[in-house]
Every structure is written in structure tokens, then in C-alpha cells.
Amino acid sequence: MSIPEVKEKWSARVSEVTIGATPAQGGTRARTVTIGGAGGIPFLSFDGALPHPPAIAIDVLDKQPVGWPKPLEEVYGDVWADPVQWARRAKELGADLINLRLTGIHPDEGDWPPSKAVEIVKAVLEAVDLPLIVWGCDFPEKDQRVMPKVAEAAQGERCLLGAVSQTEYRTLTAAAQAYGHTLIAASPCDINIAKQVNILVTDMGFPLSDIVIYPSTAALGYGMEYIYSILERGRLAALSGDKLMAQPVILDVGFEAWRVKEARADEEMADAWGPLAYRGPAWEAVTATDLLQGGADLLIMRHPEAIRAVREAVGQLMQGDGK
């Protein structure tokens, strides 16, 4: 018995963004990472091609983190006082990109001067040849002073810089444009605001094709479904031709997953929920793979077991796709 054709007739694709630049392209990266390009609902070969597997960036902080749970301390504890060592570890663990967070510049976290941030970014770029994502500290006054210097210091490397928002976008957009970087456009789980940020940034002359959408992220069990549906709606809009929603998506999976109780509570919950050593990585892995079904292109992650599981799942899901 023949069954009905169920392929959807999509009229557009998710756009592609390439992060990083090789020496031939004016940078010093060993390779670049291209994300996006999906022509259908995620991982359905019959629906549309997915040319690039979702990429994974591993989190690196500019200084020793506070309050990271034991499973993460076991992996990074010996290197996390030094961002360069930490970035090297991230590469060893198979990162596609390094996700560097400038936390020490925050007035409450050290109030480091721009020069120190620049020094760290340069050192990481020098030590590890993967494409780089750099986030400010989310304290606008300080980010406005620091991020332009960072953008300048990394000129030519085509980093992904974050993040511009509906209220704070001018300085970072101008810096990204001046020094040839791509941009993360953040919105609080709201499609209309996501579009609005894209409009504001492109009104300044920044190309839509160099934007990655950050629709915010929520951990499994803690509002994950809101992000899941925002991703699905965004992807449906992109595939239906909405150019302002056609950008690839970055999700901050590790940060969100590792701050919820299921990934932190240790001995006290071991009987009810099983050992943290397995439960934590599982929480991060499933947050990632659930959200990948909604439609995401770049995941920031932390634990190697979670990363391995996501890679394996993506490998299976991409059979017959990709390059």
C-alpha cells in the first residue's frame, strides 16, 4: 500500500555562518566552522538536507569558576585557573570552537581592565587554533569599554562576539563590523524581539548573513519547552522564507544544565535520582539533544561525557547527510 507524500514544501533555508579565519583568509585558525544551512525539519533527510552537523563549543572562563559541581571540577579543576590551559583542554576534548567568557571584567567579579581581557583573548588565540566565541560580562557599561578592544585585538580572526540585545547593540555591532567578526543577537525567548534585534543591527549596516541568534536557553525540566517551541517556530519561519528568522541558532546548554538541581545535588539525592557523576552529564546531554530536535546549530557545552553522547547522537542522526 502506498503512503502519502509527507515531505513539506519549504521555500527557504537557514542561512550559513562561517566562524574563524585561516591564514589564507587573514586569520590564524587551523580551520573554520560553518553552521546553519538546514533545508528542513532537523535530521529528516526526506524533508530537506542538513549540510552541517550542529557544532559544539566548549566553555572556557577567563578565571577560576565559582560553584561548579564536582563532575566538572574533575574534568577542569587542574586547568581552570589558567584560561590558556583550559582552552587547550577544551581542544583535547574535541571542541569545534572555544567559547570564552569574560567574567573577570564584571565590576563584581574583579573589574579587570580592558587590557587584561585583551591579553587573555590574545593568549587563547595564540595557544589554540580553533575558532573563538567571546562573550562580554553582561554589564553593558563595562562591555562597551572592553569588547571593542577585544574585537580590535582579534581582528581578522572572524570571531563570534556576544551578545547584542534589543537595548545594547550599538557598540558591539560597530566593533564587530569594524574588525570583521560575526555577532550573537540575543533575545529573551521571544521571536518578535529576536527579529527586532536583527533589524536594529542590520539598520547599522551589519550584514544579516553574519548574525547568529541566541534565543536564550533553559535547562531540561526548567522551562526547556519554551525554548524548544521558540526554536520550532523560528525554524518553521525560516523555512517558510522569513529572512529575519533565517539565522543559525546558538544555545548555552552547559551553563543552563549545570545550574539546576538535577545536575548539582550530590549525595543528598543519590538514592532518589542516582549518582551525580552520571546524572549531571545525562542532564546536559539530554538538554542538548532535546533542543537539537527543535532546531539549533551551535551548542555551548561542558562535560566530555555529555559532549560524546551528543556527538554520537548527531552522527547517527546525520547518516546520509552532511558532506
Binding site: 500500500m1 502506498s2 503512503i3 502519502p4 509527507v6 525539519i41 535530521f43 529528516l44 533527510s45 526526506f46 524533508d47 560553584g67 564584571h106 563584581d108 567579579e109 553582561d138 533553559a218 531540561l220 525540566g221 526548567y222 522551562g223 526547556m224 519547552e225 519554551y226 524548544y228 517551541s229 520550532e232 517556530r233 518553521l236 545550574r259 539546576v260 538541581k261 538535577e262 532518589a272 535520582w273 542516582g274 549518582p275 552520571y278 546524572r279 552529564p281 545525562a282 542532564w283 546531554a285 539530554v286 539533544t289 532535546d290 530536535q293 561525557e305 553522547a309 551528543v310 554520537e312 547522537a313 547517527q316 542522526l317 546525520m318 547518516q319 546520509g320
Partner: protein, 445 residues
């Protein structure tokens, strides 16, 4: 798909006899389309019209019942491809598998473990609903005995899995009245199994090697009068299963009847974490039942959380109980934060307070599950609702100070709150992400 009033009207007698209680046949048809009245209210409808209307009114995915009495579980009747378009109605059932080839001690341990697979998460009890009994031995007596034992020890309805219709019959009889789901793995025996399912009044799951073969098989079974069918597309592994589940859902929503049944999926990955990923993916992507070998608590918790998330009604704000919460070892000098009872808002605040490691009280005000700004705009988060919640919470007996932290987004409320409650208002950050730093660095009692 639901019929419109005019489509229904075509099948009615069009005599406007008013016997149904409505002034005209068209009015009756309109009410029927709105599902406010059923066809049996019309005494004059012809059997042909009745058959046509009933088959058209059947939901695109058959509703199937597993288990009996207090343990009755329903799957099917889904209407959407994407949860935001309406919602997913019937949460995926999880079944943990046992094999009748296991040694008695291993078997008992496994059944006991399944019996205990219930969890408490964010104030809700969740767990595994079914025990899947696999006739791996091929032996009828062993299968029957395990079927009885599994249902008794786990206290859950069973999925009885066998390649032989005769074995299914024997096990089903042993569980007479409990309405297990029969699963026939050999497509050649599917029709024989359908006869068993009909005789024993059980639903039947069937497997085929392709969707085309599956559609053919369900049509044959439906022709025998058995409509309580569950379908296994036969695909295994993440990719094949995801694609098959999606094709089935899409075809069913196009009203393709032979695939209009709830689907059953199996996790088969080599490593436990991959099986966790597999199970979660199938829960999100249209499986009505997931059968898994997973049994550890850390393995099932993320799958259950995925189910809780994905099957949340997106139209309905999710609320936490409006009350006074504590984080850490609070004392008489601990800060008091006020927020709404929208769960995403509340959990964001709670997460940040935890991260700050400053013990604190969080007063969740009843805003009918809306966020800070929405609740403020609709006047559910104002000086009097906050004061009322404050006084009713008993916080005044628990802290020595009289200072509360108001979300920065509603700083405008501070004067009113101070006047009504007599508490001093401190303005907190606008976003939850600022709370941790605020408590550590700015907040002073």
C-alpha cells in the same frame, strides 16, 4: 480532521423536524461541528449517513486504551505536529523491558527496580507506567508465568511481547480483565494475534518492515473489526525511528487512516546514555509508547523530565504554588525576595538565589501563573496582592527585619507596597540573572 457544520449538514435529513431540540438541521449541524452535541440526538439520520459521519469524525489518530480500572491509560488522539500549535495531549507511556530468559534472581531484582521507578520532580509525581514482558525464550509457559509475576510485582499494566500469537493468547488469558497491550513481533502472525486481541478484549501492537507494509497490515486488521491498534514501523536506531515516527504522524494528520494509530518505539543504542537520548528524542517526537531497557534512576529521570516539558500545555502558563519558599539555611536576618508564581520566573529566581549561596526567602505571589511584567500589567502583581501574600505567608514571624526585595521591573510599585505593608522596599535587579550578584555584593540588611 473535524468536519465543518456544512459538511455535516449534507448528511442530515434536512427536514427541520426539531426532534433534536434545535430549530433547524443546520443549527444542529453547527452545534455538532462545535462538538457541543452528538449525532445520536437526531432520531432520523440514516445508517449510511451515520456511518459516513462517524468515520469522518474519528480523530486522525485512534484513541487506544491500555490497562483497566484505576490503571487505565490512554494514548492517541493527537492532533498536532508542533506543540505550540495547540498542545500534545497524551504523554508518552514509558515501558521498561524484562525478558523471560532472565535467571529468577535477576528477574526479581529487575521487577522490584521497575516497581520503584517513581520520582518526585518539581512537586509532581512521575514514573514509568508499563512493564514490557518479552517472550525471548519463545516458551509459552515461561511467558505466562512472567506475565503474571511482572504485573503483580510492578503493579503496572503489561506490554506482552512475543513472536507467537498462541503465546500471547496464553499470557493474555492469565491477565484476563487487566487489558495488557499485546505486541506481536512476527508480521506473519499479526492476523492470528488480532483474533486473540479481539477475543481477550486487548489492544494489539503490530510490527512491519516498512510503513507501506504496516499500512497494509493495519487495514487488514481493521477489517476484522479490531480498531485498538498500536503500530511499530520496524525501524530501529535514532535516525530510522525519528524519520518513521515523523512520517507516521504527518501521514496520520493528513487523514491517512492505515497509519492513524499511536506508535510504539524501542531504544536499542549500545550505551545507556545514548538510550537515554534515544528515549527522550522519541518522547519529543511523536512516540505514544517507548519501550526501553533502561532501569537506573539517573537514566529515567531525564526522559521523564523531557516528557513533563514537552507535554506541558503551551497555552497555559505553568504555575508554582504561591507560598513562601526558602533557599539554604535561612535565619531571622535573611533577605526576602518577592516574585510571581509563573514557574519559569520562580525557578529563574530560585536558581539565582541558590547560585548566590546567600540563604533567602522567596515569596511567590499568586499571579495566576503570569510573569512579573504581565502580572503587573494585568494588575495581579500590585501593592495589595503583594501585601496580602506577605501577611498570609507568616514571614513576619520568621524574620526580624521588615525589608523586601522587589523585582527591578516593577520598581514603580515600591511606594504603594511600603504604604500598604509597612515594609521597606529595596529594588532588586530587573533580570533574574542579576540576583546572584545583587545578593552577594549589593544587598545589605
Amino acid at each position: 480532521m473535524a468536519l465543518t457544520g456544512l459538511e455535516i449538514y449534507k448528511h442530515l435529513p434536512k427536514t427541520n423536524c426539531k426532534d433534536c431540540g434545535f430549530p433547524t438541521c443546520l443549527a444542529f449541524a453547527m452545534k455538532m461541528a462545535a462538538k457541543q452535541v452528538s449525532l445520536d440526538k437526531c432520531p432520523h439520520v440514516t445508517p449510511e449517513a451515520k456511518a459516513a459521519l462517524e468515520s469522518a469524525a474519528r480523530p486522525p489518530i485512534q484513541l487506544v486504551t491500555i490497562g483497566a480500572d484505576a490503571q487505565e491509560l490512554k494514548i492517541g488522539n493527537e492532533t498536532q505536529l508542533y506543540r505550540h500549535e495547540e498542545k500534545f495531549y497524551r504523554p508518552t507511556l514509558l515501558a521498561v523491558r524484562v525478558w523471560d530468559t532472565l535467571e529468577p534472581t535477576a528477574l526479581s531484582a529487575r521487577l522490584e527496580a521497575i516497581a520503584g521507578l517513581t520520582f518526585e520532580r518539581v512537586g509532581t509525581k512521575v514514573g514509568v507506567e508499563l512493564v514490557a514482558v518479552d517472550n525471548a525464550s519463545g516458551d509459552a509457559a515461561r511467558f505466562e508465568s512472567l506475565a503474571r509475576q511482572a504485573v503483580e510485582v510492578t503493579g503496572r499494566p503489561a506490554v506482552l511481547m512475543s513472536a507467537k500469537a498462541d503465546n500471547l493468547q496464553r499470557a493474555a488469558r492469565a491477565l484476563s480483565g487487566k487489558r495488557p497491550l499485546l505486541y506481536i513481533s512476527d508480521p506473519q502472525q499479526a492476523l492470528a494475534a488480532a483474533a486473540v486481541a479481539k477475543a481477550e478484549n486487548c489492544p494489539l501492537a503490530v510490527r512491519a518492515e516498512s510503513l507501506e507494509a504496516l499500512a497494509e497490515l493495519t487495514s487488514k486488521i481493521a477489517a476484522t473489526g479490531l480498531e485498538q491498534i498500536v503500530i511499530d514501523p520496524g525501524a530501529r536506531g535514532l535516525k530510522g525511528t525519528l524519520e518513521a515516527l515523523t512520517r507516521i504522524r504527518r501521514a496520520a494528520l493528513k487523514n491517512f487512516r492505515p497509519l492513524g494509530y499511536p506508535a510504539i518505539a524501542f531504544t536499542t543504542a549500545a550505551t545507556p546514555l545514548l538510550q537515554v537520548v534515544e528515549a527522550s528524542t522519541y518522547v519529543a517526537k511523536y512516540a505514544a509508547i517507548v519501550v526501553t531497557d533502561l532501569i537506573e534512576r539517573w537514566q529515567l529521570l531525564p526522559v521523564l523530565a523531557t516528557r513533563q516539558d514537552i507535554f506541558t500545555d503551551p497555552q497555559k502558563p505553568v504555575a508554582v504554588q504561591p507560598k513562601l519558599y526558602t533557599v539554604g539555611e535561612v535565619g531571622a536576618e535573611s533577605p526576602v525576595l518577592v516574585t510571581t508564581n509563573f514557574s519559569l520566573t520562580y525557578y529563574s529566581v530560585e536558581g539565582e538565589v541558590e547560585a548566590s549561596r546567600v540563604p533567602a526567602y522567596i515569596l511567590s505571589v499568586d499571579t495566576e501563573g503570569t510573569s512579573v511584567l504581565t502580572a503587573w500589567a494585568s494588575d495581579k502583581f500590585n501593592a495589595s496582592t503583594i501585601t496580602k501574600a506577605l501577611k498570609a505567608s507568616g514571614i513576619e514571624e520568621r524574620v526580624a527585619h521588615r525589608k523586601l526585595i522587589l523585582p527591578g521591573l516593577v520598581a514603580v510599585l515600591s511606594a504603594g507596597v511600603e504604604d500598604e505593608s509597612g515594609w521597606l522596599v529595596q529594588i532588586g535587579p530587573k533580570e533574574a540573572s542579576g540576583i546572584s550578584s545583587y545578593l552577594k555584593n549589593q544587598w545589605k540588611n
